[in-house]
């Protein structure tokens, strides 16, 4: 079956932002994004306003999906790290916990080695949080607990979107 519904709660969101803000400082990077493998932006810290974050998220996921396809063709499970080097800015893209994509944008004030080192540590912390989130989502699904905000949605609500 496809992976369960991705849900983000306030607590975890804060913890995640705390970790990537720390990573932003320690890796001397400019911007950090967390993106769902389906292309949806989870969070971003740093100079995010300079970028079209929605497009960035969808293209990153497309990029990871395409390289994942390449990996399978040559018998690898996935390529867990991608690195794109530009004239000024570079992108370090890695997969966290098999499900989420961590994007670090940095320039010459940092280095690939430093970014790799810091990303590794942050990834472990992030993996723990996302594992917890997944468990929570699975339990919710089993208990069919309906604190779900869309349970009470009416046809009028839906029609109103298209006015």
């Amino acid at each position: 079956m496809p992976s369960p519904q991705m849900v983000m709660y306030e607590d975890e969101y804060k913890k995640i932002n705390h970790i990537i803000e720390k990573l932003l400082r320690e890796a001397n990077s400019k911007v950090i994004f967390l993106v769902d493998k389906n292309g949806q932006l989870i969070s971003g810290v740093g100079e995010t306003e300079r970028f079209d974050t929605t497009s960035l998220a969808s293209l990153t996921a497309g990029n990871i999906a395409a390289t994942g396809g390449l990996a399978k063709l040559i018998g690898e499970k996935e390529f867990s790290i991608l690195f794109h080097e530009g004239e000024k800015d570079n992108l370090h893209i890695s997969i966290v916990g098999g499900r989420v994509i961590l994007v670090v944008l940095f320039d010459s004030r940092s280095s690939l080695g430093l970014v790799r080192l810091r990303v590794k540590k942050a990834s472990e912390e992030l993996t723990a949080i996302f594992d917890g989130l997944l468990k929570r989502a699975e339990e919710k699904e089993k208990s069919s607990d309906s604190e779900f905000p869309f349970a009470e949605i009416t046809d009028d609500d839906i029609d109103n979107l298209f006015r």
Partner: protein, 195 residues
Amino acid sequence: MSFINYASREINCKIVYYGPGLCGKTTNLQFVYNKTAPEAKGKMISLATETERTLFFDFLPLALGEIKGFKTRFHLYTVPGQVFYDASRKLILKGVDGVVFVADSQEERIDANIESLDNLNINLKEQGYDLNRLPFVVQYNKRDLPNIVSVEELRRELNPANVPDFEACATTGEGVFETLKAIAKLILIDLKKGK
């Protein structure tokens, strides 16, 4: 799979436009893009060849408004229609919440439509989805052309399950928003059930 963010009170859903090459998937997105208010849309991205054939995907983010205090966002994707881009099509179907099948109504494309629909079924199954249980609508495009097959015949070939279907002319926009509304509605109703 839709992504619900309680922290930023947002819900994101993914819609994929599927169909044979040159059936008008990209044209559908372009029309939606051109007719949507600037504050409701993001940038449209087209990863296409120099001759404007879709190479990987087109992407258009839309923000429709709020439901129960949650911002509702739809991410529209197209797949490359040409047969040999199958590996790319599989990737784009990952995490899909609803599918629009765009059929080319011209007589000579009926086989291409059937082949593409079969391909959609196979690719969805590979990912553990079942088209019969996924929000799904069909659009019969290019109704303005002279050499077209009747809607009844198209329906028989492409829509045996009798899902919502629409006649369209994507270049003029006829039927484009009706199709989008229908799939968005089906996805939201699906969400309402809580899966």
